[in-house]
Symmetry: C2
Amino acid sequence: MESRCENCIIRQFNALRAASTEELKKVSDSKITKKVKRGEALFEEGEKLNGVFCVRNGVSKLSKLSANGKNQIVRLASKGEVMGQRSVIVEEPTNLSAIAVSDMEVCYIPKESIVNTLHKNPDFTFEALRLMSHDLKEADDVIVNMSQKTVKQRVAEAFLYLKSNFGVDNGGFLLVRLSREDIANVVGTATESAIRIISEFKKLGYIKTSGKKISIINEKKLQDLVQGF
Amino acid sequence: MESRCENCIIRQFNALRAASTEELKKVSDSKITKKVKRGEALFEEGEKLNGVFCVRNGVSKLSKLSANGKNQIVRLASKGEVMGQRSVIVEEPTNLSAIAVSDMEVCYIPKESIVNTLHKNPDFTFEALRLMSHDLKEADDVIVNMSQKTVKQRVAEAFLYLKSNFGVDNGGFLLVRLSREDIANVVGTATESAIRIISEFKKLGYIKTSGKKISIINEKKLQDLVQGF
DNA sequence: ATCAACATATGACATTTATCAGTTTTTGAT
DNA sequence: ATCAAAAACTGATAAATGTCATATGTTGAT
């Protein structure tokens, strides 16, 4: 049987924490829980979304394809984060694709069961605004990093980000396992360039790898690099 | 005498369009209209803001300084746009500086007269959310452009953006007059690189200049360039 | 267990962009 | 109108990054 939003701890991380019991009931009754396999798309750039996706488990990349065939990963979404709300709020096709980076469990919430809340419950709307403010700040930071940091610094920063946001397993390996191509697409560089830098970090002893897994050995060195030392 | 928000057409461009008569009155009573000269700061990165700024006239750049002394302009704000709301909403110091790019007239609205509305009037909050959604989408686009377009393409795009967003005068010259350094900071490149590209565009007959003023002659060519032709 | 498809890796080289150094032009204060 | 400071400009060169080619390793479907 399906679990209920009312009992879902994950909603503490998103605007649903501000929803009333009745509102939550409505959401819960209409939501659909889906399993999404690594590599599958939740939605694609240009689609008009009729609902939002709340991540229960796993990680999704939000990316945008450009004319030259390159892909830029704009951000990663994990537990508790909601994807697609922008499209629902402004009633426009989404500007980003969402593709699972690991196996995922997401709840799809049809827009009908939230737009009303969005127009009636200011606490909920305010929470959404607060969270979007946060996303906007992060986006601003990314813009600044893209223009002012070298590829090497951005790769270092990406590893630190992956560690602090998604954590590590018992062996100290990053839980999110991105392909080299994905790392390049987060950082905004060519795959080969990313690979070269990763190799260099390995040689320098900043990180180590085991198969596809990556572990940060010398966090300090990476931080210094990001700071420009 | 000061003009009243109730009669201000500019508020149609921001969330205040959704404010009630009483709410508007409160805002109007507490607001302070300021004149800001070109080059002066409305606020600086790191400041805790106790209100928001609504632009009546002129253009402001929102930028961020980085460790290496470089500046990145994240966006430009003009008539009707509100600056500083992120800081007020999340109650954090602002991550950006706002500096006038032309002489400006702005209204400073103390946060006390809007936070209440933000928590009580869902229409107002929703409008703010809608506008921030728009900003977020734009920011995403900037990220993608930064990583996937060449400096030349980004300069071309910047000119097209300045034309379509801020318009031209009778002579066809861009109304917003950015210094070469500012253009470089919008585009995320070195000032010299921006200058070189501008010179090239002049030679190619895509643009012409008269003193500091810039006019787009061949919009099509610039568009093609942005598209990668 | 095998094999094709894909991901990772590395070298050589081309291209883009930044940096430094210096000149000319513009601007604003007096 | 004059002059100093700032901005715009140009060339030479260095550094960073992308591209292409090719080799090796890994993985998942049969």
